[in-house]
Symmetry: C2
Subunit: 323 residues, 2 copies
């Protein structure tokens, strides 16, 4: 309980350690997350995604600076769905952001895949709760790439910002991954480059053709130029910062925030059911060496996976799978 209290007081070291424990799926972490849960739900969660090299980190930097000047507290989770093998090398550009760590009201943490697939998504969800319980007004979750995992992580956000760069040809990839449908705001970064207007026109055209899933909110296509330093003075970035807050205001005034929260709750419930129901069974099967025995049977063609799984279900479940 002491740990939960420290989180609520905004203690950075406790929060960092808790997030690391969450990544490692440590059992103590689960208890603390449970304790802080009723103190969450107050932050505005902003997801920022786009291809590598789109300039997301710089954009996030600029946003942090701007929000800090208005007195808002900010938490940042930079999420890298990288394999453990390549993990260390590519997080380099995150280090720049860490300089905000000197500001006690800005909390920045990198998260990367450590173990099993899907574990990261859940860990990010829990880390958002930690930052929320710390009392951060805004939580920015930045992800790299445009895979399904990013889409899942973006489901945690109230406002999703998709960052694109002209001439990178990543539009198709983004379309493919289904990120476009979940974006509330489009930002064309490095908009001093050639191809900006073309990309902007194309995006607007695709948006016009797309089914309206955002209610009265029409996702705007904003531009940010790359030419001014420091980041907060970049042309267009103030507009991005403002539009992000506008979108939250829109959610609040249209009662869609609750819907957003509900969706997230269902996701979390699903994750929790996996860890409370499937994992203990798997652990037992592994400990008892039964998984290996079943794998042998499968290899010899003596059984098929569904038959084996139904037998396990029959042993551990109080309902049958036919129900």
């Amino acid at each position: 309980m002491e740990r939960a209290q420290k989180i609520r007081e905004g203690d950075v070291r406790t929060a960092s350690r808790l997030i690391r424990d969450i990544e490692d799926n440590a059992p103590e972490a689960r208890q603390t997350v449970r304790e802080i849960f009723c103190h969450t739900g107050n932050a505005h969660v902003v997801g920022i995604t786009g291809s590598p090299g789109a300039g997301k980190s710089t954009l996030v930097n600029g946003l942090i600076e701007l929000y800090r000047t208005t007195g808002r507290t900010v938490g940042v989770l930079a999420v890298d769905p990288t394999s453990p093998f390549t993990g260390g090398a590519i997080l380099g550009d995150r280090i720049r952001m860490q300089r905000h760590a000197e500001d006690p009201e800005v909390f920045v943490r990198s998260m990367a895949t450590r173990g099993t697939l899907g574990g990261l998504t859940k860990a990010v969800g829990d880390a958002i709760h930690v930052l929320d319980a710390m009392g951060k007004d805004l939580i920015i979750v930045e992800t790299v790439g445009a895979g399904q995992q990013e889409v899942q992580i973006m489901n945690y956000a109230h406002t999703v910002v998709l960052v694109l760069v002209p001439g990178m040809g990543d539009e198709i990839q983004i379309l493919k991954a289904g990120i476009m449908e979940i974006a509330d705001i489009f930002v064309i970064n490095k908009a001093d480059r050639e191809g900006t207007h073309k990309l902007q026109r194309e995006l607007i055209a695709v948006l016009d053709m797309s089914p309206n899933t955002k209610g009265a909110w029409r996702p705007p296509v904003l531009t940010v130029e790359n030419v001014y330093e420091p980041a907060k003075f970049r042309k267009g970035i103030e507009n991005v910062a403002k539009t992000i807050l506008d979108h939250y205001g829109h959610l609040v005034s249209n009662d869609t925030l609750d819907e957003c929260r509900r969706r997230r709750s269902l996701h979390e419930l699903n994750d929790a059911l996996t860890s409370c129901i499937l994992e203990p069974i798997l652990n037992r099967l592994i400990t008892e060496g039964e998984i290996e025995r079943m794998a042998d049977q499968l290899l010899r063609g003596e059984a098929d996976p569904i038959t084996l799984a139904e037998a396990i279900a029959g042993r551990y479940l109080r309902i049958t799978s036919a129900e």
Copy 2:
């Protein structure tokens, strides 16, 4: 049983319908997959992945043509982890491959995400079994992109081919997704373009630095030029076709094929346990409206997900999650 028999006889219409049923997660499909399971394990499964625009489909076309001239039967699954929304539009370039459909020994099928995340991976695994039971010597599984889902799908393959193109800057993204570690063969496509030698050098350098996870197999970096038509005459493609077969020979002679099969069996068992244990519980909770009641509790901050999930586990499981 009749359906399973028809699959074993190589009936294309039955196979197509079964794969569609697998995608739709139809209960009848499960039974048929179970019946054909003991007739699988004979095909060489080749995964081909890489960014959009890397020329994978053309490469696959060339490989099909070459393998057909040696009398091998070929099955192709072109997998598109696209959201349902964008699904239809981007499968266009697959249509070219369908012309092989006139050859009864070539079976080509596109698969795309229809429903829930993760469902596609499992569906692809089952579809591979279908092609295997049909008696295809080679099964080529082509995926687009470099996300975690592609990595999962590639886990089904005995031989993984990663296709790259010079000057597309997709190396980093591939490194990030962890595909590089699982690739057995690298192919630089469109190798008449500038930057080929640089990319080749870089790949070899990264491979030299990487931990050796492939035993005695050293992943080669091959090149295919874009300038000859038809596809099978492209410079370098014969070497790719040969190296793919060499890799399989290497697996067989090093007893690593069994390891490969075992890993796949464990994956499938995990999927089967999810559908036999977690899904019936979820279905019941949904039918009884309990999921909605729990979501309400979460929204009002009256409970946390783990506490709710533990209560569900207590109700439906014969072991407790603490065990």
